[in-house]
Every structure is written in structure tokens, then in C-alpha cells.
């Protein structure tokens, strides 16, 4: 309640056209729309700890995050990928990792799919489980709705375009995906690894398939060996100072771990 009053008073302050605003410390972050919701949440917690700081988060894609950090338009850039060789002039700080796991029903006899098989299933070239040694049953393909970062990572890894994917079900959030797969023994889908691992270990009838021979687990996402994963990076041009340094340290600390998990990403801390 008190916080609300402070906000209200602050808003009125701004409305009155007072120039006090410039006395506030402001931290601007721009870039990846995958990281933006996470950084917004971390930013809110950071603002609560530092009442005179405002964290401003803007999206526009990883490329914008890199460009803005390089040109100094943003204090910190956000990029949902590792830095390229041509970006060696920048510094990257990983705050979490994003991993996507393929899931099938627990009773499905198939225990492994090659990358080529996954591509064939998602483009409608394989339509029956018996082609992969499974039951003689049609495959129900579950895809994600447009705009989700899991979709982006999945398409990117398998070099697919969303226009060629032939899905029977399109889902929104991870839980809906897991319920869909658990409810139909012939489905295949993909969701954030954190959610799938939690549900599978709590008796939900789904199982995670390995990708490229690597078991799908948050541990393998954390240590970087799981291929269907990517780092979520904060990018700066120079060694961060002052506020930017504090913010990056906070985002990488155990204090931010709960926020990371809540957004179905994998924390880098233990």
C-alpha cells in the first residue's frame, strides 16, 4: 500500500512537470524479446532494493541489443545467443540459459529420435510412429504459438521455418503442452526443459527425449552440453561500472534465481 502511494505521488510529480526526474539514476537495457520479460522482473526487484533507481527495458531483438550496447545507446544490451567472433569487442555476462526439450507420452516405446527424424515429423514427412519403431499410430504434432522463444529456439536448431511445420495442435504455454502430450499417447511436443523435468519427476505421464544423444536435463542445459539450448546474455561495451555492474551482479546472484526459474529458464547458479 505504501509503495502504491509512493508511486502515485511520483506519478503526480512527473505530471506536474517537475524536473526532479533527472536526479534519478536510470539504467537502460535493450534487445532480445526473450530476455526482456526476465530482465523486467529482475529490474522490479532491483528497483525495490534501490529506490532511487529506475530500470528501463526495451525490446527489439538480439541484434538491436548488440548494436545499442556497442553504440552506447543502452547501458546494457540483451542477446539470447552467444557472441559471434565479430563481436569480440563486447563483453557478455550470462544470466540464465534457455533449454527446450522434446517430450512424448511416457508409454511411447520410442526412446530416441535423430534430428533428421524430428525434422521429418514436424514437416509432415513421417506421420506414423511405426516408422521409428513405435506403435502403429498416427503422430500428433504439437507446435508452439507464434512469438514464443521456445518456438524460435526450436526452429533455429532444426533449421525449420514455421510455414513448413505441419502441426495438429498449437499451444500457448508450457503447461498446456505437457497436458496435451500427457493426455494423448501418440503426441510429440516440445516445451521448456525446466517445466518438463519438474512435471515428469512429479508423476505426469510425459518423458523427455535426448537430443543428438545428450539427455535432456536442466543440468546438461546449465553446463552447456545440451544442444537445444542457448545462453541469455547481458552485453556491455566496456567492463561495467557503477549501476550497470551492480545490476549484472544482482541478475547473476542467487537472489535472482527464483525469478529465472519462474520464467522457465535455467539458472546458472546452484
Amino acid at each position: 500500500m505504501k509503495r502504491l502511494w509512493i508511486r502515485l505521488a511520483f506519478t503526480l510529480f512527473l505530471l506536474a512537470g517537475c524536473s526532479e526526474d533527472s536526479a534519478q539514476d536510470k539504467l537502460v537495457l535493450t534487445g532480445s524479446s526473450t530476455i526482456a520479460p526476465l530482465v523486467s522482473e529482475i529490474g522490479k526487484r532491483f528497483e525495490a532494493l534501490h529506490p532511487d533507481v529506475r530500470v528501463d527495458v526495451q525490446t527489439g531483438g538480439s541484434s538491436r541489443g548488440i548494436a545499442d550496447a556497442r553504440q552506447g545507446l543502452a547501458d546494457i544490451g540483451m542477446a539470447s545467443r552467444a557472441l559471434k567472433e565479430s563481436e569480440g569487442d563486447l563483453l557478455a555476462f550470462t544470466i540464465a540459459r534457455d533449454g527446450v526439450g522434446l517430450i512424448v507420452h511416457k508409454d511411447n516405446p520410442v526412446i530416441e529420435l535423430s534430428d533428421a527424424q524430428v525434422v521429418a515429423i514436424y514437416t509432415g514427412k513421417i506421420v506414423n510412429w511405426k516408422d521409428m519403431g513405435g506403435n502403429d499410430a498416427p503422430i500428433t504434432v504439437v507446435n508452439k504459438a507464434e512469438g514464443r522463444s521456445t518456438l524460435e529456439l526450436f526452429l533455429d536448431y532444426f533449421k525449420l521455418k514455421n510455414t513448413v511445420v505441419k502441426a495438429q495442435v498449437i499451444i500457448g504455454d508450457n503447461e498446456q503442452g505437457i497436458k496435451t502430450v500427457a493426455g494423448n499417447p501418440n503426441t510429440i511436443g516440445y516445451v521448456s526443459i525446466g517445466t518438463a523435468e519438474y512435471d515428469a519427476s512429479h508423476g505426469v505421464a510425459v518423458k523427455l527425449l535426448p537430443v543428438d544423444g545428450v539427455a535432456a536435463s536442466t543440468e546438461n542445459v546449465r553446463n552447456g552440453s545440451f544442444p537445444l539450448s542457448r545462453p541469455l546474455n547481458l552485453v556491455t561495451k566496456t567492463e561495467p561500472q557503477g549501476l550497470a555492474k551492480d545490476f549484472i551482479a544482482f541478475a547473476r546472484s542467487t537472489a535472482a534465481e527464483a525469478i529465472v526459474k519462474k520464467q522457465y529458464f535455467v539458472p546458472i547458479t546452484h
Binding site: P138, T140, A145, N162, Q168, V169, K179, G183, N184
Partner: protein
Amino acid sequence: MSRSRTDIVLVWSLRGCAALAGAIVLLIVVFLVLESLPALQHVGLARFFTDASWQPSEGLYNLTPMLWGTLFAMAGAVLVATPLGVLSAMFCHYYAAPVVARFYRRLIELLAGIPSVVYGLWGLVVLVPLIGSLHPPGPSLLAGIAILTIMILPTIALMADAALANVPAHYLRGASALGLSRWATIRGVVFPAAKSGLFTGVILETGRAIGETMAVLMVCGNVVQTPANVFEPIRTLTANIALEMAYALGDHRAALFVSGLVLMAVIVVLVAGAERISKGRVYG
């Protein structure tokens, strides 16, 4: 003098309430138009109906399959629920013993109070696997129609119930004085007298069927396509907004507001059509 002053206060407060209700509708329309303007300017209205498909990330924005999805799901549910609802009200009024009727009415009211997400969850874990075992994949137009039917059934059943209760008692006494049978009374006297009430019920259930989002999103499969049969998955306009709004930016976001605008247009057409059919006495 004091009496007329009370009247003036009453009249003006009623006018105020009416203006408020009207203004809210207008504000919603203005808001929808403003938010969808960027897409209408960049993409143009025609392309929302002529593009190859709905792929906002690749600049394709065809809403037609979702419009069909919405209309099919709605029409299917209304066609099944209306006779069921009217028959249930008839049973309640003219055939059931008073104790049974009272109990039955409470039951229908209870049905009306169940939140839609509960129906959706039940549909997802029970109905969809059931349909899937009959005819894969499972999430389908049929599942959507079934869930919507259950959801709008209480609306039409209760509205029809109220409409039948409003039939003047002397009509019924007159009918029995003429020696009409129960069915002849219902067909020849009750239905014509309750017609506008029943029609209002149909309008309300249709509105509810169009607007329903969560339950439909959970059972329909959400694939953007014009369904060839009831076992194919569909995506409705409401589900489209709910699915993609959280992560949409720029033109994609504005295109979702266009979905809302199209939905609004469908409802306007429906209400206008209903007004025409009933010659302006829908709510009379």
C-alpha cells in the same frame, strides 16, 4: 414540488447511467480502432482476408480461417444447445413434478456458475483424449462445439425458463378451457407468446459462444486452417488473441487488435440481423 424534484434527480441519474454504458462500448471500439491502426495502415484491411496464411513473423496476416473457425464453433454449439435448452425449460414447466422441477432448475443454475477454465481443463484431459481415440488427433472443432454447448446450455435453458414463466396464466387457462392437449397448448399458445423471450436467449447464448476464449483455446488445437470436417483442429479469433498477445510486438500486436475488431464486427452483424428478424423487438 418535492416529488417532481425526485423525478428530475431520478431521470438525470438514469440518463447518466445510460450514457456511461453507451460510452464504455464506444470507448472500446475507439480503443480497438486506435490500436489496430498501425496494422491497417501498414498491411491494409484487404490483406487480412486475402493473404496466403497467418504467419505474423513473416508478414502474412490472413484472418479468414479463424473467422470460419469462430463461426463454425459458434453455429455448432448454438444449433445443439438451443433445442436442448428449450426442451429442458419445457420439461421444467409443463411435464416435471414441482419438486423435480425445482431441483432441476437449481442444477442448471449451478451449471451456469462453473468457470469456463474448469470446462476447458475437463475437455483437455477427458474429452480430447476420448475424441482422439475415435478419430485422431483429438483437439478439434468437435471438442470445441461440445465444450461450448455445455457452457451455453445453462444460458438458453434459464432464459427459456424465464420466457415460459412469463406466459400469462389466463392464456393457459383459456387453452385448457378449449380442451387442448398439453403439447397443443405448448405449440399453439406458449411458443408464440414466449417467442421474443426465447429469441433473446438465443442472442445471449450466441454472444457467449463467440466470446468464449480459455476453454476453446484448450480443446480446439489452435491450428490456423479452415476445417474440412469436425475432427480437424481450428483456431478461433479469441484464442488467437489470447495465444499470441503476450509475445506480440509491432504490426503483429496491431494485427491481433484487428482480430478483435473483426470479432466486434461479427457481433454487430449478428445483433443487427437479430433486430431485423424480430423487427426491433428482440428485447421486447
